[in-house]
């Protein structure tokens, strides 16, 4: 696996203590990814409870309050427990290898930032068993409703604080690694796009996680210490919370998608056997999207009664985001154009990402049109929109990344046949789940309701069938990963014929410390 000289560095405790005490970027990356996968099934299970209740009109299975808890917890788990840890896991594994460094810059903090997470989520999930039930006011925590939460409330707030702490530490580590651990010659404009997108994501995290922490702390003092930040009767303003929340929330949605752009920008050139089209414009587009994310937050709240000038500003700024996002899509298509493509599983997931993320982008553009948004707002059209950018968007990109780098991580090739089956089942079912939601949303079905009137019955039934199909298809992925960890065709160092980048110059699996001596950068 690695040369004899380095062996003493690999000295580490075995068994459970290895994982608890580890400061190694690969071990921590693995921990993050497993954590994310477990949470994916917990959050997915909650989604299936939602879809079971919505299979037919009428209340069949759960109490409406519990239903509201499920929508709330599903969102919190999927955002903070699945997508964000998965990207941090990928960052841990890949950034040191991609920039030619030995490890992350701050290994002890790395350990801490991971190990906070299981405690934060134990706290969050424990609220399911508390008096008054789990939080049921929506993941957006809008007061006054969120202040009606029972015993769960302080646990929810502290869980969010810990998740924020973990994310901020992870982000500091990513920035410190990228700025300090690059091999000589790896200047910024030579970095792979995954590194670039993560650098920008990390700055977004540091900018907005404290804003969320401030907002939820104000909720906490409103509930327990008689402040009136958001209580109109005490001179406060319930809408101010929404401004604070979405000032965090909009950059947050780009935190959930920018690393996906990096993943896709790595995979498409490999399987097109052609360099990425417009590298520098990709970097600038990512930076523009990040900048714009700070000045569009009120498009989540067009119906709260914002003055005309405010509505117009946020409409124009929001529509502007379509320009750099379009540039990225055009660049990916141009990368594929006149390439010599093959369609292994990572490529399939990456192409699926581009198409379905673009569909989510289209509905996003529609949502920016304020007069039309009055009709779309808080309907299933919005649910369809953000699930298109998050499931066949972020989740597909994470899947693509796993298939793409799994042979590098484990040293074995995964089963290509099963991978393709996983892709096709996921794609069919994800569309079956989320596409009909556009229709019922436009026709007037609000989101976050446990029961609906009869005209929405047929499409809801289809969506529920799709959701179960999608959920069970993910079990194939678990099987593929387990199989790939211990058996399969031996992976070569380069793994993929067209792969470029420093991680492919290391053996598969790579040594415990990635680059002990800096590689030569051409």
């Amino acid at each position: 696996m690695s040369s004899a000289v380095e062996d003493h560095h690999e000295d580490h405790p075995s068994g459970l203590m290895r994982w608890i005490t580890t400061t190694n970027h690969k071990d921590i990356g693995t921990l993050y990814l497993w954590f994310s996968l477990i949470m994916f099934f917990i959050g997915g299970f909650m989604a299936l409870i939602i879809r079971t209740e919505l299979f037919q009109p009428g209340l069949q299975f759960v109490d409406p309050q519990f239903f509201n808890s499920m929508t709330t917890m599903h969102a919190l788990v999927m955002i903070f427990g699945v997508v964000m840890p998965a990207f941090t896991g990928l960052a841990n594994w890949l950034i040191p290898m991609m920039v030619g460094g030995p490890d992350m810059a701050l290994p002890r903090m790395n350990n801490m930032s991971f190990w906070i997470l299981p405690f934060a989520f134990a706290m969050l999930l424990s609220t399911l068993f508390m008096d008054g039930g789990a939080p049921a006011g929506g993941w957006t925590l809008y007061p006054p409703l969120s202040l009606q939460t029972g015993d769960a409330f302080p646990f929810l707030i502290f869980a969010i604080h810990f998740m924020g702490l973990s994310s901020i530490m992870g982000a500091i580590n990513v920035i410190a690694t990228i700025l300090n651990m690059r091999a000589p010659g790896m200047n910024l404009m030579k970095m792979p796009l995954f590194v670039w997108t993560w650098l920008i994501t990390a700055f977004l995290l540091i900018a907005v996680m404290p804003v969320l922490a401030g907002g939820v702390t104000m909720l906490l003092t409103d509930k327990f210490f008689e402040t009136s930040f958001f209580n109109a009767a005490g001179g406060g303003d319930p809408v101010m919370f929404q401004h604070i929340f979405w000032f965090f929330g909009h950059p947050e949605v780009y935190i959930l998608i920018l690393p996906s752009f990096g993943v896709v920008s790595s995979i498409i050139p490999t399987f097109a056997r052609k360099p990425l089209f417009g590298y520098s414009s990709m970097v600038y587009a990512t930076a523009s999207i990040a900048f714009l994310s700070f000045i569009v937050w009120a498009h989540h709240m067009f119906t709260v009664g914002i003055p005309l000038a405010g509505e117009l500003f946020f409409m124009f700024a929001t529509m502007l985001i379509a320009v750099p996002t379009g540039v990225k899509v055009f660049n990916w298509v141009s990368t594929m154009w006149r390439g010599s493509m093959t369609f292994e599983t990572p490529m399939l997931f990456a192409i699926g990402f581009i198409i379905m993320f673009t569909i989510g982008g289209f509905s996003g553009l529609m949502l920016a049109i304020v007069p039309a948004d009055f009709q779309y707002h808080d309907t299933y059209f919005v649910v369809a929109h953000f699930h298109y950018v998050l499931v066949p968007g972020s989740i597909f990109a994470i899947m693509a990344a796993c298939y793409y780098w799994l042979p590098k991580w484990t040293g074995y090739m995964y089963s290509e046949g099963l991978g393709k089956i996983h892709f096709w089942l996921s794609t069919i079912f994800v569309n079956l789940t989320f596409f009909p939601m556009h229709f019922v949303g436009l026709a007037g079905m609000p989101r976050r309701i446990p029961d609906y009137s009869l005209q929405f019955a047929d499409y809801n039934m289809i969506a529920s069938i799709g959701a179960f199909g999608f959920g069970f298809a993910q079990l194939i992925f678990v099987y593929i990963v387990f199989k790939c960890m211990r058996s399969g065709e031996k992976a070569t160092d380069e793994v993929w014929e067209g792969a470029e980048g420093l991680e492919w110059t290391l053996p598969s699996p790579p040594p415990y410390h990635s680059f002990s001596t800096p590689p030569n950068i051409k």
Partner: protein
């Protein structure tokens, strides 16, 4: 395309008629029964077709590339990897399309923000989980609760066609008169939404939001609370009964002094 348009058109026609269909028709935004709702529908269709057109071009290029430029056909990869000219082109063209789209959207929005010269003002207050309506000029005031029975909700009785979109006291309004709504809440956030009138506004405790509309056709228009407000968020519908002037005045006169209505 033509077939798709036909399907959309059919669904719109059938949805906007007062008959509620169950089935596959719940497909598109209703055109509605006010000038504004028609403009909103047009905006929605314009931006939808713009997206479809861009989608056809982008996905078409991708599909062509996927079928033609594959290794299994022996296609040799090109080596080009940048073009400033192209980057400028696909920055400027989408930008211009967006500017064009902003013009009608801004026009409609300005019209929606004109609440002046309303003939009737109605205060709408959200509660967990019902609505209160107050006709400010005439002093008529009443609460509006879900009428659907528990037996229907818990599947002990067959659901009627207006399941979950029927109330005990409809909000009765005259047609062809400008009506202004003042929206607020007494507890948590709610949102008052009537798709057929393209009206939606959050109901916020301590704040009053404004909406206005002129209904063009008589009929019954059904809406729902659109902001999560707790356990029974899905069970506080809105029903507007639009009638001619004479019927409205008669109805209003009959309600004056009817104290039963004021009690919840």
């Amino acid at each position: 395309m033509a077939l798709f348009k036909k399907i959309l058109l059919f669904s719109v026609v059938s949805l906007t008629s007062s008959v509620v269909h169950s089935g596959w028709d719940a497909l598109n935004m209703p055109k509605g029964v006010s000038l504004i709702s028609n403009e909103v529908y047009d905006l929605h269709m314009i931006i939808l077709w713009i997206c479809v057109a861009i989608g056809v071009v982008v996905f078409g290029a991708m599909a062509w590339s996927i079928f033609m430029h594959r290794k299994s056909r022996g296609y040799k990869p090109a080596t080009f990897h940048e073009s400033t000219k192209l980057e400028v082109v696909w920055t400027v063209i989408p930008f211009l399309i967006l500017v064009l789209m902003c013009i009608p959207a801004t026009k409609t929005l300005i019209k929606m923000y004109d609440y002046s010269n309303a003939e009737i003002t109605i205060k709408v207050t959200g509660y967990q989980w019902l609505w209160q309506y107050e006709y400010l000029e005439s002093g008529v005031s009443f609460y509006s609760n879900l009428k659907t029975s528990y037996d229907e909700i818990y599947n002990k009785k067959e659901k009627n066609i207006n399941y979950l979109q029927e109330v005990d006291n409809n909000l009765v309004l005259p047609i062809n008169k400008k009506v202004r709504f003042l929206i607020t809440s007494n507890d948590v956030l709610h949102a008052w939404w009537i798709p057929d009138l393209a009206l939606k506004s959050d109901a916020i405790p301590g704040f009053i939001n404004e909406l206005s509309t002129t209904i063009l056709e008589t009929g019954v228009y059904r809406g729902k609370c659109a902001e999560l407000c707790g356990r029974s968020h899905g069970f506080m519908p809105i029903v507007i009964e639009a009638v001619d002037d004479k019927t409205f005045e008669d109805w209003l006169a009959s309600k004056k002094g009817d104290t039963n209505l004021a009690n919840r």
